[in-house]
């Protein structure tokens, strides 16, 4: 059964590019129709009920988040498309949603479509709510959406004490002795949290510097964190880590 799609973009060129790329590289996608503004998109989503919407972010005088706010629940998947990694992209990443950068690369498009098919987790309304909430503030997002093995949840970035790689998964150690496991790899989170005060002390550990209490020199060097946690610091990274800590004025 093909995946049905609606393409929403205010530029005809962009619509045409998407049509050609999908026809050529994603033969399992059937394009139902196109829309050039959010009102047209709203109508067509309701009548056509597509599986997925390829959605441009900026469509003056509106943007696609205004479109999403028109729905009480969102019964379709979304792949955001945008020309520039702007403020919105960061919020999309924190909400664990998919996006493509224009000009669109064929292989990235294929991967995104492939994920739609294989997706174990369905996007939840919470993710879009989170997105809408974080998009309004013009600052780095403070909340992170996590697809964990047992449940999906939103956590506060400031509550993360540290992250530990565990095979292809990542364990989150949070304040108040909470622990959750995400199905994404540690490297993705390192990139995502780069605007916050996180430091990769070790290939398997990403530490929130806000929760560092002290440095211990027994058994190699390690960092003592709140609530009795302890993470190793790789020998090569000790010096840089100390500098970073001092630079932040934390001791």
């Amino acid at each position: 059964m093909p995946i049905t799609a609606l393409i929403v973009d205010d530029e005809q060129n962009a619509q045409s590019v998407m049509k050609h790329l999908l026809n050529r590289y994603c033969t399992n996608v059937e394009i139902l129709d196109y829309a050039t503004d959010i009102h047209e998109a709203y109508e067509k989503i309701n009548t056509l009920q597509p599986d997925v919407v390829f959605l441009d972010i900026t469509m003056p005088p509106h943007d696609s988040f205004e479109l999403l706010r028109l729905f009480k629940r969102i019964p379709f998947q979304i792949i955001f498309c945008t020309a520039h990694s702007e403020y919105a992209i960061q919020a999309i990443k924190f909400s664990a949603l998919d996006y493509l950068l224009k000009p669109i690369k064929a292989d990235e498009l294929q991967i995104a479509v492939q994920r739609l098919v294989e997706r174990k987790e369905q996007e939840t309304p919470t993710q879009y709510q989170l997105l809408a909430e974080q998009i309004k503030k013009n600052e780095p997002p403070q909340k992170l959406f996590i697809h964990s093995i047992h449940a999906h949840q939103i956590i506060e970035v400031k509550d993360i004490i540290y992250l530990e790689a565990s095979g292809n998964y990542t364990d989150f150690y949070l304040l108040n002795n909470r622990k959750i496991t995400s199905s994404k790899q540690l490297g993705e989170y390192e990139e995502l949290l780069s605007q916050h005060t996180f430091y990769r002390t070790h290939k398997s550990f990403l530490v929130n510097l806000q929760h560092v209490i002290s440095i211990a020199k027994t058994d190699g060097t390690s960092v003592i964190l709140q609530e009795g946690h302890q993470c190793p610091i790789a020998f090569r990274r000790v010096e840089l880590f100390m500098q970073t800590i001092q630079g932040l004025g934390l001791h």
Binding site: N13, V17, P60, L101, K102, P103
Partner: protein, 586 residues
């Protein structure tokens, strides 16, 4: 009577001389020389007569009032210097306080006006130093220093050096270290300017401050000074230096014979070039000489004679020293009553000149200056930060445009529209190249900017599959290749008009760029007939771009000192007009 006739003849001769000078500035120099001729200027009346005659003559020549007034100010300044030199401090001050100095004629070149203001401040300050009014002198020299550093002047460094020398003089009796610091600074500037005359003044003062603490150092400075006199003779300074050397010799009881010789020579020079400060120094140091050889009667006479001369011209540098010495002589002679009275007199004068009350005032002025400088430093830093931000604001084009253009190109390629794709690539790369070249400059010729903007709009037309009726109107008065405008200032306005006004509009689309001459400004209108603004909810990006422009304009100043500005008029479904007032830049 005969004297009067002589003067008239002299004036006639002078005017003839002036008449020959066709050049205006040279003529002013001629005034200056005439006014400073000692023969004609032995009294105030004569000099005023000369000035009157010259002014009348100038009126006949129909000089502009601005130039006439400038000439008057120059003459008055020089007259006051002369009067100070002959000890007429009150008259000199009165001249400097003449209301004519309050007139700021704007038709005159500003640097000329500024030079007069600075020279007047410095001369007035010098008078207060002579009168030992340290608080007035300090505040005037701070004023002078601030003025000199902040305005464009001819001889800026020279005047700054003069101000520092005088600040050194002010601190001489208050804080020797601070005083030395100023003279060292002044010497450094004099070296840079290669102003031997000023360097000589600095050296003599440095020698004077240091001889009590470090005799050897002080003597090396005097030797250096005497070397300079060989190549750059200066009778007055040489005499001062000889007097200082005599004072040092007497003070340290080294070679009293040589000291006496130096003193006698100085008097001969003084007779040829009368100067009140040299006379006072001579009397003071000769008194010390007689005291050193224990010739008490002579010492007493000279001290009393110093005090008498000093009284006629207001308190001078050496009076406290002389009173102290005088009291010692009375004591030596057993006249304890007089010794006590003189000491009391000295203490009273010291209290008056450098007493607690005076010092408190002095510190207040110091503190105010320090606070002002601190504020200025903070402002300077702020300004620097703003300039850096400004550089960042000069930003590139909106990255959205770049990537969306590449997206358009991608479509042309996918659709197999080879010719259009090739054209697009060539136009787009030209635009990018222009943008990168322009980004190196702050200002670019209007002509280049217009070409750039036309190309930009053309590319946007392809991108939106849409024709805009784009017209460019340029005031013919503006020389397009000469007038320069800030780089990337107008492009964001066009981009906004296209993206937020025209693209969503269903009507025929028109975009007008109008560049006009507005005196100190270049006025730019960008008008579109798009959807207007109030309906527009995506304000975030737009206001950011416009804020940048607003900020950049507000950092620019027009020749009439107004800042640049921006005005927005937007009407729902009628369109938007944005007007920029760009200060003319050279």
């Amino acid at each position: 009577m005969t004297n009067d006739i002589n003067i008239k003849e002299d004036i006639a001769e002078l005017i003839k001389k002036i008449q020959i000078e066709s050049n205006y500035i040279a003529r002013i120099d001629a005034y200056r020389n005439s006014v400073l001729q000692p023969k004609l200027l032995n009294d105030l009346n004569t000099s005023v007569k000369i000035i009157g005659a010259i002014w009348k003559y100038e009126k006949k020549l129909n000089q502009s009032t601005a130039q006439l007034e400038y000439a008057k100010k120059i003459i008055l300044l020089n007259l006051s210097i002369y009067l100070k030199e002959i000890g007429q401090f009150a008259a000199a001050q009165k001249i400097l306080e003449n209301p004519i100095f309050n007139n700021q004629d704007t038709t005159l070149e500003p640097t000329l006006n500024n030079n007069i203001i600075a020279s007047r401040l410095i001369n007035l300050g010098v008078l207060y130093i002579e009168k030992q009014d340290i608080t007035k002198a300090l505040s005037i020299f701070y004023q002078a220093e601030n003025f000199v550093t902040k305005t464009t002047l001819v001889n800026q460094s020279y005047l700054s050096c003069l101000a520092k020398i005088n600040l050194g003089n002010i601190y001489y009796n208050i804080n020797k270290n601070q005083s030395l610091k100023y003279f060292n600074l002044a010497e450094k500037i004099a070296n840079e300017l290669n102003q031997v005359n000023l360097k000589q003044v600095c050296l003599i003062n440095i020698a004077n401050i240091t001889f009590a603490e470090d005799l050897e150092f002080s003597i090396t400075k005097i030797d250096e000074l005497n070397e300079l006199f060989k190549t750059h003779p200066n009778t007055k300074l040489k005499t001062k230096s000889d007097l200082l050397k005599a004072e040092i010799l007497i003070n340290k009881k080294i070679d009293l014979e040589l000291a006496k010789e130096l003193l006698d020579n100085s008097y001969q020079v003084y007779q040829k070039n009368p100067s009140i400060s040299i006379l006072l120094n001579y009397l003071r140091i000769y008194g010390f000489y007689f005291k050193a050889i224990e010739s008490w009667g002579n010492a007493l006479d000279l001290h009393l004679s110093y005090i008498k001369t000093d009284k006629e011209h207001g308190p001078n540098f050496g009076i406290l020293q002389v009173l102290k010495s005088l009291s010692e002589i009375y004591e030596q002679q057993g006249d304890y009553q007089k010794a006590f009275e003189t000491m009391k007199q000295k203490d009273a004068l010291h209290e008056e000149l450098f007493g607690e009350e005076k010092l408190r005032l002095f510190r207040n002025i110091e503190q105010q200056q320090e606070e002002m400088l601190q504020k200025e430093r903070a402002m300077e830093l702020e300004q620097k930060v703003r300039q850096l931000e400004h550089a960042a604001l000069l930003s590139q084009m909106n990255p959205h445009f770049i990537f969306n253009s590449l997206n358009t190109l991608q479509n042309l390629v996918i659709e197999g529209n080879e010719e259009a794709a090739i054209n697009f690539i060539s136009e787009f790369s030209t635009l990018m190249r222009e943008m990168l070249n322009n980004a190196k400059e702050e200002l670019i010729p209007l002509k280049n900017e217009i070409e750039f903007l036309k190309r930009y709009v053309q590319l946007e037309e392809i991108r939106f599959n849409n024709k805009f009726n784009f017209s460019v109107l340029i005031d013919e008065v503006l020389p397009k290749h000469l007038v320069k405008i800030p780089v990337m200032l107008i492009q964001p306005l066009l981009e906004n008009a296209i993206r937020h006004g025209l693209a969503p509009s269903k009507n025929d689309k028109s975009l007008v760029l109008d560049v006009r001459n507005g005196g100190p400004f270049i006025i730019v209108d960008v008008t579109d007939n798009g959807i207007g603004w109030k309906e527009n909810t995506n304000k975030q990006h737009k206001s950011h771009a416009l804020e940048n422009i607003q900020e950049r304009l507000s950092l620019m100043r027009a020749p009439n000192h107004e800042n640049g500005r921006m005005e927005i008029k937007s009407d729902l479904s009628k369109g938007t007009q944005i007007t920029l007032w760009i200060p003319v830049q050279f």
